[in-house]
């Protein structure tokens, strides 16, 4: 897996979390811009998952590490949609902050994927 794809995903996830933090501070509710941003991250995660699935045969990765890798990648697909569902059900600062949690968790997932993938 080319190292630049997960790196872009990581930066994107952190940037998303930073933007949400600004929303929380300003007490703004999530809008279409934020949803679009999340959709781009979601698409990039899906691409990463596909690339990993295609290239995993060529690297030394077995057993628990293999399950861990794809576990994290699938979690990366679930986090943001679940975060939006949970967040949009209420309009409050705390509800918007749910997306901050989701963005940071997404970044953590990407870091773990980068650690598990043999370089």
């Amino acid at each position: 897996m080319d190292g630049s794809l997960p790196l872009v995903l990581l930066v994107g996830s952190l940037l998303f979390a930073a933007v949400v933090a600004v929303y929380v501070v300003l007490d703004r509710t999530p809008d279409w811009g934020l949803l679009g941003f999340a959709a781009v991250i979601e698409a990039a995660t899906l691409v990463t998952l596909v690339v990993a699935a295609v290239q995993v045969g060529g690297v030394d990765l077995h057993g628990g590490a293999l399950v861990t890798l794809f576990g994290y990648l699938v979690a990366g697909l679930v986090l943001l949609p679940a975060g939006f569902v949970w967040s949009l059900a209420e309009q409050s600062r705390g509800a918007t902050a749910v997306l901050l949690v989701a963005g940071l968790a997404q970044a953590f997932v990407v870091v773990r994927v980068m650690q598990v993938w043999p370089s």
């Binding site: 679940a82 949970w86 967040s87 902050a97």
Partner: protein, 138 residues
């Protein structure tokens, strides 16, 4: 917009929503981690992996309780978050005294230092939130 609760405030409203999100992430992560450990190398460190499974159940219970799922969610949340606090303090202290107790890391090892100390902070926040939103008379 103030999220200060009035009488018998919801635990899943306002700040609680973000708190539940954090608990949800921990529940998901701990459950997945536990399943991988038990599924691939259960015999290597049975105590540590059993503990991982317990921790996973505790986080799931805390998430459900705070999210007001089930018949008496507040009681469930108090019990789960309380257990979580005892768990992280006990396991954290044990791993500090003698690392041999848990040869493979658990979420509560070293007071959750491996997870940015969040496992240590989380139960305090959870208990504070339950206390703040507690039902009040009149």
């Amino acid at each position: 917009m103030s999220d200060r609760p009035t009488r018998s405030a919801s635990t899943r409203s306002g700040l609680g929503r973000a708190l539940i999100a954090v608990y949800g992430v921990f529940a998901l992560a701990a459950t997945a981690r536990s399943l991988v450990q038990l599924g691939t190398k259960a015999s290597e460190a049975p105590l540590a992996y059993a503990l991982s499974a317990v921790a996973a159940l505790v986080y799931v219970a805390a998430t459900l309780g705070l999210a007001e799922v089930g018949p008496s969610p507040r009681r469930l949340a108090w019990a789960a978050v309380g257990f979580e606090l005892v768990g992280v303090l006990t396991v954290g202290t044990l791993t500090l005294l003698d690392p041999e107790y848990f040869p493979d890391a658990t979420v509560w090892s070293d007071y959750g230092a491996g997870y940015g100390w969040l496992p240590l902070v989380l139960p305090f926040v959870g208990l504070a939130w339950l206390w703040r939103t507690r039902p009040q008379n009149a």
